[in-house]
Symmetry: C2
Subunit: 208 residues, 2 copies
């Protein structure tokens, strides 16, 4: 199971494999070749084999891949074997929407929500209390929080991120239209820049 520098392009395809394999598993398909997978998922068969080889290769010549095994392997590669503790910072519409997404079923347990607005602090979303930001440090440390979702407005994002890092969070899922400056190279930052996505759509729409 080699692991010297897997490219970002490959990594970003893994969740899609995982998604499709799960579906196949649910449909009772227990064997698949790279060619068949190619037809379904839209990557070339060669690319699929190359991608999987990055992590050791899980197939068998003349047979293909066992769907369940491959699903489990990719799950493992994606770190879906343990549960991560998460919190949401900013309990506005987006924060509340994410709280209701139930990422818990994928192994991401929501442990708390935070906001500065006294109109929402004290409320509960899906049994999770919205707490004041004053409690952030304590909660991160007590509950051993791994991942924080930043759903504040863009002006608050950087200072919130600084606090999160200071208090020991390991990864940030950033929903604000800001590129966070994080000095600590150990901290993972994953952005969901909705406006960038919409502008990309707009680009292609204009091209027509």
């Amino acid at each position: 199971m080699a692991n010297n520098k897997v490219s970002m392009a490959v990594i970003r395809r893994l969740p899609k494999y995982h998604r499709y394999l799960k579906e196949m598993l649910e449909n009772g398909i227990n064997r698949i070749s790279s060619k068949e997978l190619s037809d379904i998922i839209g990557f070339t068969a060669s690319q699929i084999r190359q991608d999987l080889i990055n992590f050791g290769g899980f197939g068998q010549q003349g047979y293909g891949y066992n769907v369940e095994d491959l699903y489990n392997e990719i799950g493992q590669i994606l770190g879906l074997v343990k549960t991560y503790n998460t919190i949401i910072i900013g309990a506005g519409n987006l924060g509340q929407a994410l709280a209701n997404f139930n990422f818990g079923s994928h192994g991401f347990k929501l442990e708390g929500m935070f906001d500065i607005n006294p109109k929402v602090t004290g409320l509960r979303i899906r049994d999770i209390e919205i707490m004041d930001m004053d409690l952030l440090e304590e909660e991160i440390k007590n509950k051993n929080i791994d991942i924080a979702f930043i759903c504040t407005n863009k002006d608050a994002a950087q200072s919130v991120a600084d606090d999160l890092v200071k208090f020991g969070v390991k990864a940030i899922w950033n929903f604000t239209p800001v590129d966070l400056k994080i000095n600590n190279g150990e901290i993972i930052v994953e952005n969901v820049h909705l406006i960038d996505s919409l502008l990309t759509l707009s680009y292609f729409l204009k091209e027509k």
Copy 2:
């Protein structure tokens, strides 16, 4: 202003340029070199020049780029010169969150929201009525809808997409964890696969 096949990598960087240039403009910076921009935005100076050359090149040797001009040019490239009419399908937590995002300020005017759930139809979010899906065809045609945001559950996504295409929508912004099958090659589909993003984060978290 050449335009023979700009690569996806370049296109997906454009919104970031646009974002940073806007910020500079607001800060009263009116001139910038590729080197300075590189320090701020994190792409190499060479890449920045290469990117811009795809669209004709807007700089001047010995001077750099005029921030306002470049901002406007990129805005134009991204199609931000006209207003697009949008609707949201699925008025659950996410749909409501997106309605409150106010993409109108970027030229994306929200013209309606739709849901099948009678508990939410009739309600208003930011002065936009949540309508029953029965009215979808009529509204798309009357209001000349360009873009639909799909925020339904994943099981409804494909059939909603089929209807949207049939009724004349030009682009779909898909928030469901499904890869929509659209035959009509003229239709733009832009995905926001939140779970894929979270699993990518998870991958890097596991790597540490």
